[in-house]
Amino acid sequence: MDLDLTEDQESIRDVFADFFSSETGPEQAREAEPLGFDSRAWDRLLETGAPGMGVAESSGGGGANLADLAVVVEEAGAHIAALPLVDHMVTTRLLARVGACDDDVLAGTTIVGLAIRPPQDGTARTVPSGAVARQVVALDGDALVLVDSDPGAHLQNHGCLPLAHRPLAGATVLAKGPDAAAAYHLALDEWRTLTASTLVGITRTALNLGVDYARERRQFGRPIGSFQAIQHLLADLPGLLDGARLLTAKAAWAGDRAVAGQTGVADIGDNEITDFATLACMALVSAGEAATTATDRSLHVHGGYGFSEEYDIQLYFRRARALTVVLDDPARECRRLADMLLTRHATGTTA
């Protein structure tokens, strides 16, 4: 057991914390609204190798594992980077696994994204990077398909995500059958894990914004952060933040084990969970709750200013909700999780 980042991961964290803090942030996020894509920052990001870093070195990538990528995207979330990084990373890994990742995708000059919801009537709806990605991968029935077309028309939305519908007409079939579905679901669980890590970054900054404001803002002759009513709103958040970060890191750890062929278990009777799909789902629900709670409380601590466009917390507030529900209602995610956790008990036995 080791609950510290590796030395390599500490370096990765420092490098990308520097990058996102100089190239992205609330100011750039505002400029990138409503589309939610900062093309100048994306161009700079290409120089870091981040778009292809999650692909094996033997396939021309950076050789980073899922746990490493989680460290990168937490920083992106913390600095509210308007970049389709999670979607591009998980899709490049998926394309590499089915032998369809070209150099432009690895480099990030072609942006790729994942259709995270089942297509309806031949269209992948509300693809998270659909308004900026050239290539979108979807699971259509039992076929893994790739559509290569101009990005879709942006759907203006709550979190200023680059959402768009993408018709699948003319899509190329990359693979078919159970292996294709398994590859897609592995990618989707990686998406859950990295989106969870992004939400952890959002939670972290939202908490910091609330604490900073509570220390500076004075009412009744003293900082509002000296009032227990304010302190106790904020004091629940570090546990939510650290808990979500640990669970997300555990999901990434399980994902790397799964890719290496190691299976896990999911025994809620003994609270022993090492299965990747289970942990990915848990991480997204947990981080979504942490981010929505932290942004909600932090915004409230700001009083009326939190509601104003001028203050940064509203940027985090809206993205926290968007990333929490863009895949599905968390309650439905929980019922899906229950299907995984209660399989042995579903027939009424108590084995």
Binding site: L3, Q231, L247, K250, G269, C334, L337
Partner: protein
């Protein structure tokens, strides 16, 4: 990060699980709830004899400190009587950290045999969360001290061999600076124990100290240095030694009940979508609680005192436990009100038991509000306001 246990820890956990499977009989569990004493000396002694207590003292010995976490986490998950053992091993850790050779020889070695118990004498009838204001006084008389006062919530006092007792030795200095801790043998003349029944099955006590004379060798830490000893004790208490995964047995009991319970809507309760969602949410909370606890254990294992991290684990875990208990009691309906031993009781009475027990978990061992104060002031750096 690596979330797998070391091979040694895996072996240790297997040994604890095997021990529980053999020794945690229905009789042991029934006895615990019937007497209200969540402590079983036969069980504790067998644990020690099996070699499983050697790593159970925080900060002591050369065993992997993760063993401490594993031991108490497994006992908690299994619903075993571990409250008395946890307090005893906590005191053993405090004795090891701040005690003299006399204390180590006379007390610590005995505690490691699993055949002796300790209890905590901090709170008083008028001083709970504001523990630094306690008034039980200790007055020096030559080589002895004379102690007079009353303690409250001295759980396990009726089965204990020693109490660590927080006293006031100097009323003329700021309240934190006039406190002294003693390690007091419970058979010292002048100590009286009275039971305090609770609304759950567990029993606690009030203890009375009437001109209790004790030698200076039983002082633990410096004269007027009792607050520093408290700091060590609290850092050991929160998080690492059980108390942060109470919803694991709850979830297991509810799941097993729901598979066989008819739903008024048809089918079984386990097919109810809302119950399934809530079982899943509880499973997530149980993982997060485990990880926050593991982090506290990890900090202890790498040489730190995880006081704040323990506060975070306790805040999170006890809040989620209470939420889950509320959900499941509502969803079990009238059968969820039925007690242990009553036919048709949902989950064999465990829902009623957990609903009775849950309220105390955000009170004892530091209330939710005290833990929030800790996190707000010491972790977030917000201005102190008391």
């Amino acid at each position: 990060m690596d979330f797998s246990l070391s091979p040694g820890a895996v072996d240790f956990r297997a040994a604890v699980k095997a021990f529980i499977a053999e020794h945690l009989t229905t009789e042991v569990v029934d006895q615990m709830h019937a007497t209200g004493t969540f402590n079983d000396k036969t069980f504790n002694a067998a644990l020690a004899d099996a070699g499983l207590l050697a790593g159970a003292v925080p900060g002591y010995g050369d065993r992997d400190p993760i063993e401490l976490y594993i031991l108490f986490n497994e006992l908690e998950k299994a619903g075993a009587p571990y409250d008395g053992l946890a307090v005893t091993m906590l005191v053993a850790g405090v004795v090891n950290a701040v005690g003299t050779d006399f204390h180590r020889n006379r007390v610590l070695q005995k505690l490691l045999t699993g055949r002796f118990n300790c209890c905590l004498g901090y709170s008083e009838p008028d001083h709970g969360s504001d523990v630094a204001s306690i008034t039980t006084k200790a007055v020096r008389d030559g080589d002895e001290w004379v102690i007079t006062g009353q303690k409250m919530w001295t759980t396990m006092a009726h089965v204990s061999d020693w109490v660590i007792l927080l006293t006031r030795t100097n009323p003329d200095v700021p309240r934190h600076k006039g406190l002294t801790m003693f390690l007091l043998p419970m058979d010292t003349p002048g100590i009286e124990v009275q039971p305090v029944p609770t609304m759950a099955t567990e029993r606690t006590n009030a203890t009375f100290y009437d001109d209790v004379r004790v030698g200076d060798e039983w002082r633990l830490g410096e004269v007027d240095g009792g607050w520093a000893v408290m700091g060590v004790a609290l850092a050991f208490e929160r998080g690492v030694m059980g108390g942060t995964n109470p919803a694991v047995p709850l979830l297991r009991h509810v799941r097993d009940w729901a598979g066989g319970a008819a739903s008024p809507d048809g089918g079984t309760m386990l097919q109810d979508p809302l119950l399934r969602e809530r079982l899943a949410r509880t499973a997530i909370a149980n993982q997060v609680s485990q990880l926050l606890t593991l982090r506290a254990a990890w900090i202890a294992a790498t040489g730190g005192l995880p006081g704040l991290e323990g506060s975070m684990a306790k805040l999170y875990a006890t809040g989620r436990y209470q939420q889950a208990v509320g959900w499941f009691q509502e969803m079990a309906g009238a059968e969820g009100l039925l007690a242990f031993g009553v036919d048709d009781a949902a989950a064999d009475g465990w829902i009623d038991y957990d609903a009775r027990h849950a309220p105390v978990t955000t009170i004892y061992g530091g209330t939710t509000e005290i833990n929030r104060n800790n996190v707000a002031e010491r972790h977030l750096g917000l201005p102190r306001d008391r």
